[in-house]
C-alpha cells in the first residue's frame, strides 16, 4: 500500500469503529491504512483493479444493508460501513481460498515462491487444514518458457490477471493473455510469439504464486535463506530503487521497490538481471600488470599501486600534471567519484578529466540547466518536449513513467528527433528532424512557423514546458544539443529540463568535479579552492575527445581509464584506437578486462554493484543509497580505496580515516543533499540535489553542411541489449543483442533494391562497413540508422569526432 496524503477526509465505520479515509480511495487501501489488512491476490496498487480473485470480499453497507463486495473495486464514500471480520466475510474468503487451492498443485516444497508466497501465507492464515477436493487436479506441462527469461507453470497459476494487466497497461507489450475459458483458462502467449518485453521480469515479481519464475533465480535459493539490502540500480541513470538479495555471498535476485518518485516498483530486465555480471567467472579478482612477455599477469596490490604511482610521478615531474588524464568515473559511487576528482585535480593537478565519453551531455548543460524531476515531467496535464534518445531502449523506467503519464494522466508529449521511437505511439505529436536540423525544426515549432501545426500549438500553449534533453544520435555533434538547449531557453524562458543521461552516475560524477574546468559542487576553476583541498589545476583541461586526441598525438603520458572502455564506447572509434596506442601508459580500473583494458599496461581490479557502499545520483539529481551486500571477488577493491592508496603513494592524504563516509562528509561542504549523506546512507527515496540550475550555460552555433541528394544522414543510437561488457557477462542477457543492421526508410530502400536482408555497403568520408539492410517504418526518409555496439560491424569507424553530422552513402554490395 502506498502512503497518501489525505486531502478529502471522510469517515467510515470499519468493524464498528469510526475511522478516517480519503474520499474516493479504494476501500482495500483505506482498511489497510486503518489497521485492517484484507487478503487479496489480484489487487496491485500500481495496476487497474479488476476484482477477479474475489479474495477481498467484505461486507459493505452504503445504506441498503450489508452486501459482499470486492473491496478493491469500491471507492470509499462518506458514511460507508465496512465489516471485514464478520462470519459471512470469513466464510466467503475461506471459500475463495478453497477454490484457489482446489486445482493448485501444492508443490510448495519445490516451488521457488515457497516462503514468500501470498497464496501459501493466506492458506496458513485463513485456509482449512484439509482439502475437500478429492478429484484429480488440472494438469499442464510445467513449466513452459514464455520468453528468454521467464517460465510459466500453469498449474500453479491462480489467474489473477496481474502479469497480463502489467504487460498491457504498464509495459505496453500485451503479448500474454488468457486463452480458453472456464476452468480451462490459462495464461499464455500468442502462438509462436514469445513474451518479448524489456519488462518481463516484473511479471515474476508481481506473481502472487510461483507460476512465473525467472531463470536466473530458479532453484537457486529459499527466501528464508536470503540476505537483503535496499540499494539503487546502476544499469542506467534513472536510479530505480531495488532490494538486492544474496545467499552465500552471491547476489541472486533484484526486486523493484515501490518508490513513488522513481520506479513505482518496476525494473527493466537489463536492470533486474544485470547483477549476474558480478557473478561472472571473468571478474577480475587481482590487479594485472603487463609483463615483459607482453602478457597481462597477476600482481599484488602493492606492486600494482607502486608502479601506478611511479608512472604518475614521473609524468608530473616530466611534462607536468596535464600529461596525466582520467577518462571515466560515471560508473562510480559519488564518494569514489569525489575521491578521484580530488586525486586528479588536487593531488596530481590535472584538469584533463572527463567522466563521459563524448556520448553524453556537456557538464555545463547538466549542471547549468534549470532542472525538472521525473515527477515534474510526468505531472498530470504537463506538456513535455522530448528530445532524448529512445527512452524504451536507454532509460526504460523513464519510458514507463512517460507512457503512464501520457496514457493515464493526460500528459502531452511532443517528440522531436531523428527517428520515431518506442515512445512515439504514446506521444501526442512526433516530429522528425533530419540530423543537424533539430535546432531549425524546433525554432519553427516554437515560433509558430512550422508546418506541424498541432505540435507547434502544444508547445506554444504550454504554460510550464518540461524538456527531456539528451543525445538521440551519437553521430551528431553534441554542440547541436547545446544549441538546441540555448534556443529553448531563449524562446521559452520558464522551461525546465530533465537531462536524459546514459551512465548510472554521470550526474554524481559531474557534481563531484569529474569534468574539465569543474570542481566539486559545480564550482569552476575560476572559483575558490574547495575546503580540504591543497591546490587546483592551473589551467583548464580537455574533455574526452581532446584527451584522446592528445593521447593519439603522444601528449598523454598516463591515461587512466576509470571504469571506461573508449574502444567500445567512444563514438569515433578510430580516434579511440589511435589514442590507446599513443598513450605512453594506460591504467585501467575495472571489474573486467574489457576491450580497452586488454591494451592497458596496468589493470586494477575494482568492486562493482552491491560490493561497495556509497551513494549515487540519478539523472534527475536524486541522491540515493548504494549498499554493500557481498564482498568483491579476490582482492578487488572500491575505486575510492584505490584513489586513497595512490594519493598516499604520491605523498598526499585524501582525508579518509575509516570509510567512504569520510568522503561523503567532505562532500557535504559542496551540496546540501550531501549533508544528510554525511551522517550515513540516505534512506527511502533519497534526497534531491538543488536542481534549480547554475550560471554556466554557453551558447553554440553549429554550421551543418546542407544534405546532399546522394547521401543519407547517419543516426547512431543504442538498443537495450548490445555487446557491452556487462551485458555480455550477464548470463541471461548474453546473446540477446541483435545483429548489426542499417535501417532505412521504405522510400530510401526502394531505389536501392533493398528488400529486407540485402547486404549493403555504408560509406562515409572516413570509412565504410558492410552490413545487412532492413526497412524500418520508424526511420524517416533521408536517414540511415545504425546501432551502437552490435555484432562485429563497427559503425563508429564511419564517424570523426567534431563533425556536425555524418553523411553516408548506402550501396548494395
Amino acid at each position: 500500500m502506498r502512503d497518501i496524503e489525505i486531502t478529502e477526509p471522510v469517515e467510515i465505520t470499519l468493524n464498528g469503529e469510526l475511522v478516517t479515509a480519503q474520499n474516493g480511495e479504494l476501500l482495500i487501501d483505506a482498511c489497510e491504512r486503518n489497521g485492517s489488512y484484507i487478503p487479496r491476490f489480484c489487487y496491485h496498487s500500481r495496476l487497474t483493479p479488476v476484482g477477479m480473485c474475489r479474495m477481498c470480499l467484505v461486507e459493505v453497507d452504503t445504506g441498503r444493508g450489508p452486501a459482499l463486495q470486492p473491496s478493491c473495486m469500491i471507492p470509499v464514500s462518506d458514511g460507508m460501513g465496512v465489516d471485514t471480520e464478520s462470519d459471512g466475510v470469513a466464510k466467503a474468503q475461506d471459500g475463495v481460498l478453497e477454490f484457489l487451492l482446489a486445482n493448485h498443485p501444492l508443490d510448495c516444497p519445490v516451488c521457488d515462491k515457497g516462503g514468500e508466497c501470498p497464496l501459501q501465507d493466506q492458506a496458513y492464515a485463513y485456509g482449512p487444514g484439509e482439502s475437500r477436493f478429492v478429484e484429480e487436479k488440472r494438469h499442464n506441462e510445467k513449466p513452459i518458457p514464455i520468453s528468454e527469461l521467464v517460465l510459466l507453470d500453469r498449474e500453479r497459476c491462480i489467474l489473477c490477471d496481474r502479469c497480463t494487466r502489467f504487460a498491457d497497461e504498464v509495459a505496453g507489450d500485451p503479448l500474454i493473455h488468457f486463452i480458453h475459458r472456464g476452468s480451462h483458462t490459462e495464461v499464455n502467449t500468442f502462438p509462436g510469439e514469445p513474451f518479448a518485453s524489456y519488462f518481463s521480469g516484473n511479471t515474476v515479481q508481481i506473481c502472487p504464486v510461483g507460476a512465473l519464475t525467472a531463470s536466473p533465480y530458479r532453484f537457486k535459493a529459499r527466501p528464508w535463506d536470503l540476505e537483503e539490502t535496499e540499494s539503487t540500480c546502476t544499469r542506467c541513470s534513472v536510479g530505480c530503487r531495488v532490494v538486492v538479495e544474496s545467499s552465500r555471498n552471491k547476489v541472486l535476485r533484484l526486486q523493484g521497490v515501490d518508490s513513488d518518485p522513481v520506479n513505482w516498483s518496476w525494473l527493466c530486465d537489463k536492470g533486474r538481471f544485470g547483477f549476474q555480471a558480478g557473478n561472472s567467472g571473468n571478474r577480475l579478482s587481482r590487479p594485472l600488470q603487463r609483463c615483459e612477455s607482453g602478457e597481462l599477469s597477476e600482481v599484488g596490490w602493492n606492486t600494482a599501486l607502486d608502479s601506478a604511482a611511479s608512472v604518475i610521478s614521473a609524468a608530473i615531474a616530466g611534462r607536468g600534471p596535464q600529461s596525466v588524464a582520467v577518462l571515466g568515473g560515471a560508473r562510480l559511487t559519488n564518494e569514489s567519484a569525489y575521491s578521484w576528482a580530488k586525486l586528479a585535480k588536487d593531488v596530481i593537478g590535472t584538469d584533463n578529466v572527463d567522466c563521459q565519453l563524448g556520448d553524453g551531455l556537456p557538464a555545463e548543460l547538466v549542471l547549468g540547466l534549470p532542472g525538472a524531476s521525473i515527477d515534474e515531467v510526468c505531472e498530470p496535464g504537463a506538456t513535455v518536449l522530448y528530445l532524448g534518445p529512445d527512452a524504451k531502449e536507454e532509460l526504460p523506467i523513464l519510458y514507463l513513467r512517460l507512457r503512464h503519464a501520457a496514457d493515464f494522466d493526460g500528459v502531452k508529449i511532443v517528440e522531436v528527433g531523428p527517428t520515431l521511437t518506442g515512445l512515439s505511439p504514446y506521444a501526442a505529436e512526433s516530429v522528425t528532424a533530419v540530423p543537424g536540423e533539430t535546432p531549425s525544426v524546433l525554432a519553427a515549432l516554437l515560433d509558430g512557423t512550422s508546418e506541424h501545426v498541432e505540435a507547434s500549438a502544444l508547445l506554444r500553449n504550454a504554460s510550464d514546458l518540461k524538456v527531456v534533453i539528451g543525445r538521440a544520435n551519437l553521430a551528431e555533434d553534441e554542440a547541436i544539443t547545446v544549441q538546441t538547449a540555448d534556443l529553448i531557453r531563449e524562446s521559452v524562458p520558464g522551461a525546465t529540463f530533465l537531462p536524459a543521461l546514459r551512465r548510472a552516475n554521470v550526474r554524481g560524477a559531474l557534481e563531484a568535479g569529474l569534468a574539465p574546468g569543474f570542481l566539486p559542487g559545480g564550482a569552476t576553476l575560476a572559483g575558490t579552492l574547495p575546503t580540504g583541498w591543497q591546490s587546483m589545476p592551473a589551467e583548464r583541461g580537455g574533455g574526452a575527445a581532446e584527451i584522446l586526441e592528445d593521447a593519439a598525438n603522444g601528449r598523454v603520458d598516463v591515461l587512466i581509464l576509470l571504469g571506461s572502455d573508449p574502444l567500445r564506447d567512444f563514438p569515433d572509434r578510430s580516434l579511440a584506437r589511435r589514442a590507446l596506442a599513443g598513450a605512453k601508459t594506460v591504467i585501467s580500473i575495472d571489474p573486467f578486462v574489457n576491450a580497452s583494458a586488454e591494451q592497458a599496461d596496468l589493470v586494477l581490479a575494482a568492486s562493482m554493484f552491491s560490493e561497495s557502499a556509497g551513494t549515487t545520483t540519478s539523472l534527475e539529481g536524486r541522491v540515493t543509497a548504494l549498499n554493500q551486500l557481498v564482498t568483491p571477488p579476490g582482492t578487488a577493491r572500491d575505486d575510492w580505496m584505490i584513489a586513497v592508496d595512490l594519493a598516499d603513494r604520491l605523498g598526499a592524504d585524501l582525508g579518509v580515516e575509516t570509510s567512504a563516509d569520510d568522503l561523503a562528509e567532505e562532500m557535504a561542504g559542496f551540496s546540501d543533499a550531501h549533508v544528510v549523506l554525511g551522517d550515513g546512507a540516505p534512506v527511502g527515496d533519497g534526497v534531491m540535489l538543488d536542481i534549480s540550475g547554475r550560471d554556466l550555460l554557453t551558447s553554440a552555433e553549429v554550421e551543418v553542411p546542407p544534405a546532399n541528394a546522394y547521401s543519407l544522414r547517419l543516426v547512431l543510437n543504442r538498443t537495450m541489449y548490445d555487446k557491452g561488457t556487462l551485458l555480455e557477462e550477464s548470463e541471461s542477457s548474453a546473446g540477446l543483442a541483435g545483429e548489426s543492421v542499417v535501417k532505412l526508410s521504405a522510400a530510401d530502400a526502394a531505389p536501392l533494391g533493398v528488400d529486407g536482408s540485402t547486404q549493403v555497403k555504408v560509406t562515409s568520408e572516413h570509412g565504410s562497413v558492410t552490413v545487412a539492410a532492413t526497412i524500418d517504418s520508424r526511420v524517416p526518409k533521408g536517414v540511415a540508422v545504425m546501432h551502437h555496439a552490435l555484432g562485429d560491424v563497427d559503425a563508429g569507424t564511419l564517424l570523426v569526432h567534431g563533425d556536425p553530422v555524418c553523411d553516408v552513402r548506402v550501396e548494395v554490395s
Binding site: R54, M73, A92, F99, E135, L159, T185
Partner: protein
C-alpha cells in the same frame, strides 16, 4: 418451429400478437412482407417517432412500462433514462446472444421478423440520441445472421437507416456483429467487452453500468431483441392499447419458449400475468398437455438459470414479479417441462455441466466452483458418491452464492419460498445460476441423490477407477 398456435377452442379472448404477428407469414422477413402484413404497418412507427421529440418517445416507453425481456425484467424506458447526461456519443446494442438452454424466442424474432427488430432499434436510437446501433447476434445462428443482413440492406436502400433518415436530420448506422460461441456474452457487460474485441468476460457493476460507462466507456443501452421488437407495435398502437394487455405491473405479452415433456413445444406469445403455467402446459392453444398423459414432476419457469418449480406452482401466473416472489424467475421466457420419468440427479448434473462449461473463468468462485459442483454430481451419477457429498455440494454452492438460495415453497415439507434473486460472491450471475438446479433438486429429491450414493457398492468399477456405467 412455426407452431404459434392459432386454433382456439377454449379461449374466448383473441390473444393480441405484439411481436409474433409475422411468424407465420412466408415473406415476413422481407421489407415487402414487413410493410404488407402483421399487426401493424412496418416502419410507420419509425415515421411516427420521428415526428416526436426523443424525450417524448422515451416518456411513451416509460409510460407503457415496457419491461426488459432478457431476464432481469427492468423497465426499458427507465433504463434509457440512466444514460449519463451530456455524454456523447451513445450507443444502442441489441443483445441477440440468446444461448440459455431452453430459450429460442429471440432466434425466431431475428429469423422471422428482422425488420421489426431493426425498426425497434432505430426507435431506441432516436430516443436516447445514439448514432450507432450494434446488432449482436449469436454466432451459432447463421440463419438469423443472413436474414438480418438482408433486411439491413433493404432498410439502408429504403433510407430507413443511414444518413438523414426519411428526410429528417436523424442519422443512424446499424452494425451487425456475430458472437463467437460463449453463453456469458449474453450478459450485457461481457457482450460489450466482446464487441470491443476483447474476451467476453463481464465487467464489474459498479462501476461499469453500461448506461453510464458502456461500449468504449460511453453511455450504452443494451436491450434484448424481444424488448426492442416490442417498440414498433407500441408506437403504432399507443400506450393505452399496450397496457390493456397483461397486468398493470407487467403489461404486454411475453414470448414463451416452451420445451420439454409437453405435447406441443414451441414459441408462444402470451399476455403477461394473465396466463398461468397450467394454461401454458395444458391448453390446446399452447402446450397441449404433458406428453403421453404423464404427471408433471417439475418445471423450469425461466431458463436454465431459474430455480425449479413443482406441481404446487403450476397455478402461478406468468409474471416476473410473482414468479420472483415465489422463489424463481421468469427470466428469458424459457419454460422447460419435466415429467415423472425424469431423473432429477441427471437433470441437475446436465444443467450444472452447462454452467461449468460456459463459465468464462474470470472470477474464482465460478471458475473453480462450477466445475467442482459438476464433478461431484458426475461422481454421484456414476455411483461413486459419498454420504458427505450432498453437504459438500451444498457448501460449495454456498461459497458461490451465500445464504439462503431462492427456492419454491414446499408446504408439505414446511418450506417457505425464498424470493429471487440469489446473493453472489462472483462478478456476474452465471456462477450463482449453477446453484439453482442443485438447491432445487436436493430440496425436493434428496432421496434420489441418496439412492444413487447408497447404491455405490453395486456399481461396477473398472481397474482405472472409472465406472463403466
Amino acid at each position: 418451429m412455426s407452431d404459434t398456435a392459432v386454433d382456439t377452442q377454449e379461449s374466448t379472448q383473441e390473444v393480441p400478437k405484439v411481436v409474433s404477428s409475422r411468424f407465420d407469414v412466408d415473406d415476413g422477413h422481407t421489407l415487402h412482407g414487413y410493410t404488407q402484413s402483421g399487426s401493424f404497418e412496418g416502419y410507420a412507427a419509425l415515421r411516427r417517432a420521428l415526428t416526436m421529440t426523443p424525450g417524448a418517445v422515451s416518456e411513451l416507453v416509460k409510460d407503457a412500462t415496457l419491461l426488459g425481456r432478457g431476464g432481469a425484467g427492468f423497465p426499458a424506458g427507465v433504463k434509457w433514462g440512466f444514460c449519463a447526461p451530456d455524454v456523447w456519443p451513445r450507443y444502442v446494442v441489441a443483445n441477440g446472444d440468446e444461448s440459455e438452454p431452453g430459450t429460442y424466442k429471440d432466434r425466431l424474432l431475428m429469423e422471422r421478423d428482422p425488420h421489426q427488430l431493426i425498426e425497434g432499434s432505430l426507435i431506441a436510437a432516436y430516443a436516447i440520441g445514439a448514432a450507432q446501433v450494434f446488432l449482436y447476434v449469436r454466432g451459432e445462428m447463421p440463419h438469423a445472421q443472413e436474414r438480418i443482413a438482408a433486411a439491413l440492406n433493404e432498410a439502408y436502400e429504403a433510407n430507413f437507416i443511414g444518413k438523414n433518415i426519411l428526410g429528417t436530420d436523424f442519422s443512424v448506422d446499424i452494425v451487425l456483429t456475430f458472437g463467437a460461441g460463449a453463453y456469458i456474452v449474453g450478459e450485457e457487460t461481457a457482450l460489450i467487452e466482446s464487441l470491443e474485441g476483447n474476451r467476453g468476460m463481464p465487467r464489474l457493476k459498479p462501476p461499469f453500468f453500461p448506461a453510464a460507462k458502456g461500449l468504449y466507456m460511453m453511455p450504452t443501452i443494451v436491450n434484448n431483441i424481444e424488448t426492442l421488437s416490442n417498440l414498433p407495435w407500441l408506437l403504432s398502437h399507443g400506450v393505452r392499447e399496450y397496457r390493456s394487455i397483461g397486468t398493470e405491473a407487467s403489461p404486454g405479452t411475453r414470448l414463451i419458449a416452451l420445451s420439454g415433456d409437453v405435447e406441443r413445444p414451441g414459441v408462444y406469445e402470451v399476455p403477461q400475468g394473465t396466463t398461468t403455467f397450467r394454461e401454458l402446459f395444458e391448453s390446446e392453444r399452447y402446450g397441449g398437455g404433458i406428453r403421453g398423459g404423464r404427471e408433471l414432476k417439475m418445471f423450469i419457469p425461466g431458463g436454465a438459470s431459474a430455480p425449479w418449480f413443482f406441481p404446487e406452482q403450476v397455478d402461478l401466473p406468468l409474471e416476473g414479479r410473482v414468479v420472483g416472489a415465489e422463489g424463481s424467475m421468469l427470466g428469458s421466457g424459457a419454460v422447460v417441462v419435466m415429467d415423472d420419468t425424469t431423473d432429477a440427479v441427471r437433470a441437475c448434473w446436465r444443467l450444472v455441466r452447462f454452467f461449468a462449461r460456459e463459465s468464462c473463468g474470470k472470477c474464482t468462485p465460478c471458475r473453480e466452483g462450477t466445475v467442482w459442483e459438476e464433478r461431484i454430481l458426475r461422481r454421484i451419477l456414476d455411483g461413486q458418491g459419498r454420504p458427505s457429498d450432498l453437504d459438500l455440494l451444498l457448501d460449495v454452492a454456498d461459497n458461490i452464492s451465500p445464504g439462503p438460495y431462492p427456492l419454491a415453497a414446499h408446504p408439505e415439507a414446511g418450506l417457505e419460498a425464498v424470493p429471487f434473486p440469489p446473493r453472489q460472491t462472483t462478478i456476474c450471475p452465471l456462477g450463482p445460476s449453477s446453484v439453482a438446479p442443485i438447491t432445487s433438486a436436493i430440496s425436493r429429491f434428496r432421496h434420489e441423490f441418496e439412492g444413487k450414493i447408497n447404491r455405490k457398492d453395486s456399481i461396477p468399477v473398472t481397474s482405472a477407477g472409472v465406472t463403466s456405467v
